[in-house]
Amino acid sequence: MTDSFGETLLEVREVSERLGNNQILEKLSFEVRDRIRPGKVTGQLVGLLGPSGVGKTRLLRLIAGLDKPDTGVILGQKSQPMAAGTVGLIFQNYVLLRHRTVMGNLVTAGVANGMGRGESKDKASHLLERFGLADRGSFYPAQLSGGQRQRVAIAQQLVHNKSLLLMDEPFSGLDPIALEEVIKLVTEVAHMQELNTIIIVTHDIRAAMLVSDTLLMLGRDRTPEGKVIPGARIQHSYDMVERGMAWRDNLELDPKFPAMEREIVERFRQL
């Protein structure tokens, strides 16, 4: 049996968004479908690449249900509209409640989402164990390192079994070792459940290639004279699985990797 696609998990259809006189997104469409690998639980990892200021974070806010698009629709599993609270979003600076301990942050996430305190605590303990933070439960965010803070922010979003997780620039400012650890963690979270989907917004092409099974490139059209036309949309997409560039260790050692990286960098310049 070969890999195949299952149901649609996220559909962004003809979404446009304007801020004042500035057209940010223009008829943007893409969809994420369940990737099925026989005998393996396989989540989805989508890398959303684009230059600074193109509207990546704006798109995340729309998918998270924090803002409503001017036109177009965003639908989740079973074509359900996305509402705030149903999608996890990890902000670039790993926002946590500064006045709560790590455990308190996780329990608050569960309670806020309608879970009981006891159930939230059990789930929180399990997640802290899984993320190597069992001994940090009583710590305040101010006592955590950047990496620990990121793990807590991810764990907080997982207390209430959210299958769609959005991450805003999770690779920025990381050294190579920390980057490797984050990629490992994100991959692990994605593959916890079949329908789990993580969309990672980044402008780090290499990291996006290492972690994603699908790469989307967000950018603006240009006139034949090279002038930028306002309103970003998906300009290119790469199926990394089809190219044999996903679900593998040491991907960067593959001779095809640098060639593909150059290709993507070249496209990125045009965005």
Partner: protein, 265 residues
Amino acid sequence: MAVPQQLKNAFLPNRAVDRAMVLGLVAFWVALAFLAWLAVPFETLPRPGEVWHALGSLWWEHGMGPELFTTIRLILHALLLTVLISLALSYATVIPFFRPVVEAVSKLRFLGLTGLVVPFTLFTGGGYDLKVAMLTFGMTSFFVTSMAQAVIEIPREQFDHMRVLGASEGRILWEVVIRGTLDKALEVMRQNLAIGWALITMVEGISRAEGGLGAMILNQNKHFKLAEVYAILLVILVVGLILDYAVGVITRVLCPYVAMERVRR
């Protein structure tokens, strides 16, 4: 002779010094201030010994203890009302309907208390209630200004973060606005306690019959008993510092994360 590094640091910009050095520096400046007091040539300025003697006399012979109690009760009563009114108004800034009211209350800080004695007397009937009302008014306008600003400055991400977690707007108000700014509320309370303490002489002077340190100091001043005046000022300063320290302790207990976030210079 080698100069200890901590001592060097005390004279260099942007350096940290240890606790022992901090205490040493405080002791040095206190001693210097005391010597300066002794060296002041003005005959009208009472000497430390005279002030100390006056303090004993006021405490043991003129009932300074009960007067101090009266003042502390007044300021704590006014502070409680100030905190309740100001926090309610400050938290209300999240609702656009109330923002003009909060803005207006904040602007009242430019009004002097003196001209408001008549309307406040009409409203309260005078006496203790008048003093509480005046002090509350004086502190509230400053408290609301600082606290409303703290609420306005909460980053939008904090609200969005809670929305992403699925929290209701009521829960967001509790977690982000009320709990999230508790440390700032305590700090503002600390500053306002000092403002209230500075206003006490004026407010207690409005109705001297009920006593209090403010009335006491005005009575002593009238008879030009400067040693007594300074003795009372000294008590006001010490009690103010004790109250200030107490609020600091409460902040450390309720908001231990604040000390962790503070970057030590």
